[in-house]
Amino acid sequence: MKIYKGYRAIIGLEVHAELCTDTKMFCRCKTSSDDEPNSNICPVCMAFPGSLPITNTKAVELAVTAGIALNCKINCYSRFDRKNYFYPDLPKAYQITQFYHPICENGFLDIKTQDNEIFRAGITRIHLEEDAGKLFHDISTNITQIDFNRSGVPLIEIVSEPCFNNSADVVEYLKKLRSVLIYSGVSKCRMNKGEFRCDVNISVQKQDDTTLGTRTEIKNLNSFKFIQNAIDAEFIRQVDLLCEGNDVIQQTLRFDTVLCKTFPMRSKENSADYRYFPEPDLKPVIVDVSYIQNCRRALPELADARFKRYTEKYLLSDTQADALTQNKEISDYFEQCLKYTQSTKTLCDLITGEVFRLIDDKFVIGISAENLACIASFCDNAVINASTAKRLVSELWNKNLSTEQYIKDNDLEQLNDEEVIRKIVICVLEQNSKAVGDFKNGKVNAKKTIVGAVMAKSKGKANPVIVQKLVDDFLSN
């Protein structure tokens, strides 16, 4: 809802995305998160005395790439700063981030609103920083454990303008942002692995007012659904507070997904004093114009561009193109298949129908692009019929066989010989005189039974178009 009791919500987002680098932001430790706790650590990311940071140049490249994909101005000069605070998951007791001079600024992302309009969401800045470790609280033993594998992992923080007024737009923006980051190769954005995190800043103002109200920050939201619910709940809470004559207190909140309410996270502290100052151990980040141009040239095709190509060049419907581009792995697979076939529509149907159905949680596609492409081509060329094509996808799933060979070995080739089919139709008609009678008496469905019987008799191989035609011919006489 956009307006409540005469108030509207002003929402800004801070998204943290883990970059696709092999090593951490300031040391050569691996970024893999699946390993044993505290197995990817070194004196630098553990902040041992005497250790110094070294900037990961791939991380810089990915930050610039993100900036280009999000229409930002890339700053040739940017710099690191120290954000100082104490917490057990922060080994140096400061985070190296970019406070004063971020690497990218003033970008935007166009999204479709609920009213089907294009809304240009402003992006204030994108900057590089390092992640902290992970804390595990065991309530039963009252012990907190720290895993420093994540300490030092490269992040970009993408800060939006406070331009959103409703939770639906926020979710659209986040989905689109995720897609851009995945397609551009910047981040894998797997939310369940914490590779894409969103903090929400929300305040309210009267409809005719321009001054910003006090904002609260909602953290630890790990799904789009919860983000949406949290925003809606907090919007109402703030407005109700103000209507009762109370003030909104600036604080950090968490969202209780069961009670559907926001609660304060920390008992004290409002705006902490981070004592930012330039990081003396690192040189500034300098990227020149040719570097930026190279990143621009290397930028992969994004989802929007693929969508356009799928609808305009391959004449797929919006829904089909959407289904294919939702997930980059699927879209990449589709692209792979296109190397072997031009039967784009059939291919699309097979993917969105069969492949989607068979695919497992780990998103492993059990049929090679070449094989699926082959099935699509054969289907369009009437070598096999549509139902055989569908069957083939399951039968060849996770098997190392060639489509062509399999079709030959299992005698799956479509029967296209009209004469042979005619004989079968005649035979079926003779054996199903009741059905024929029913049809002639007006039961239209009886024709389906006859067609089904013909298909069955031909072991599913008969060309359905020819079958339909012949059955129609016979029945109309």
Binding site: T55, A93, Y94
Partner: protein, 478 residues
Amino acid sequence: MSDLTKLDVRQIVDGIKDKQFSCAEITSEYLKKISLSSLNEYITVCKEDVISKAQKLDNSKDKNGILFGVPFCVKDNICTRGIKTTCASKMLSDFVPVGDAFCVSLLNDSGALLLGKTNMDEFAMGSTSEISFFGTVKNPINQNFSTGGSSGGSAASVSAFTSAFSLGSDTGGSIRQPSALCSVVGLKPTYSLISRNGLIAYASSLDTIGPITRTVYDSALILSVLAKHDANDSTSRASLKDTHYTLGIEDGVKGLKIGVPEDIFFDGVDEDIIKAVTSCAEILKRGGAQIVPIKLYNPEITASVYSVISCAEASSNLARYDAIRYGYCSDKKVQNLDELYCLSRSDGFGEVVKKRILFGTYVLSQEGYEKYYKKAVQIRSITSDHYRQVFSVCDCILCPTYPKVSLPLGYQDKNPYLSDIFTVFQNLCHLPAISLSVGKTTSGFPVSVQLTSNSFREDLLFKSAYFLEQYIKGGVGV
């Protein structure tokens, strides 16, 4: 064989090469001297390790290291693998690093032998080496007097012949001032020339590692080994080529312009030191140099700028000592995380360290940032401009290292920051400087002077300092 510990680095290398003595022999002599020392200059002595290493060197075929067989010691804020590195603090009293500092590995690779880790002011904060968890360091010249600091142990050791050379660290004068008071040669190279990797940080934009030696030549020799680019220190200067600082050291000072500040002769500076500076100017003039009057940039403001910036960076660099991953952890029962931090840090750090952390935190806080830190950074930049100007009219600045020739133990300096005025500007402006003794007072205390040059012009420092040293050795005192 006469006392091997009296040989300087060059003589040791030559002596071992000529087979006059072995690595094991000279190392044992040093260990003996150390065991007899009452100066408390060492925190850790690597007795067994260094003997076995020395024996290995004696048995090895390759004896080509530039510092082959030379016994040295290292200030205890420089990491040494497997050897306790404490920063003279309760906070790190049991800390054992997993790797060597880059400079230590360079010295090890050159064949030098690590005797042990030296005492210092806690976390390099101080100028007397009395503020140490391991007790005060005494001056070998007179044990009722301080060595100065914070590299007091390193300076005392070289002076007392319990090492052939040592490494110290200098953030605002911590190599040069104790070298002056202990009558040895102390070099603070240009910031970024020697890697800071493995140096436990005090103030990241000011800290420099440097050699303390008995002769100027030795200083140039050690610098040649240490001045190497380190990819693990992002501020480390990109290498040009290997520089041999001993080349041209005997060239003399003809044609060099020596800047002498007009404003050094104020109340707080000892007479002997003022006389020494004047005499040295004369000596250099006799060598063909030209004396040019210059001005130091407002010393009082510079001292304040130094104090703001060094404490600010220190408050951040020392925040990692939070009792979580290493270091001292309070054994008192704590109710929550804040208490763990407070108790461990209050107990683990000494008073001076705590004061500087508090001050540093304040100048970076919302309240203090504009007033102090931001201003200090701006003035730092102006100060650098000033010295750029100065070095456009002279090659080296000649001035005192320290205003006093001696510091009795327990001396309470009314204005400790003003005593640093001759040494802090070089750290702020990334200029190299060398201190050397040029004479003695009647009570036997060393009288030292300091030469400062433009960034990366250590060659000019060595030429001038060598000239002075040799001239004075030649018998003509000051």
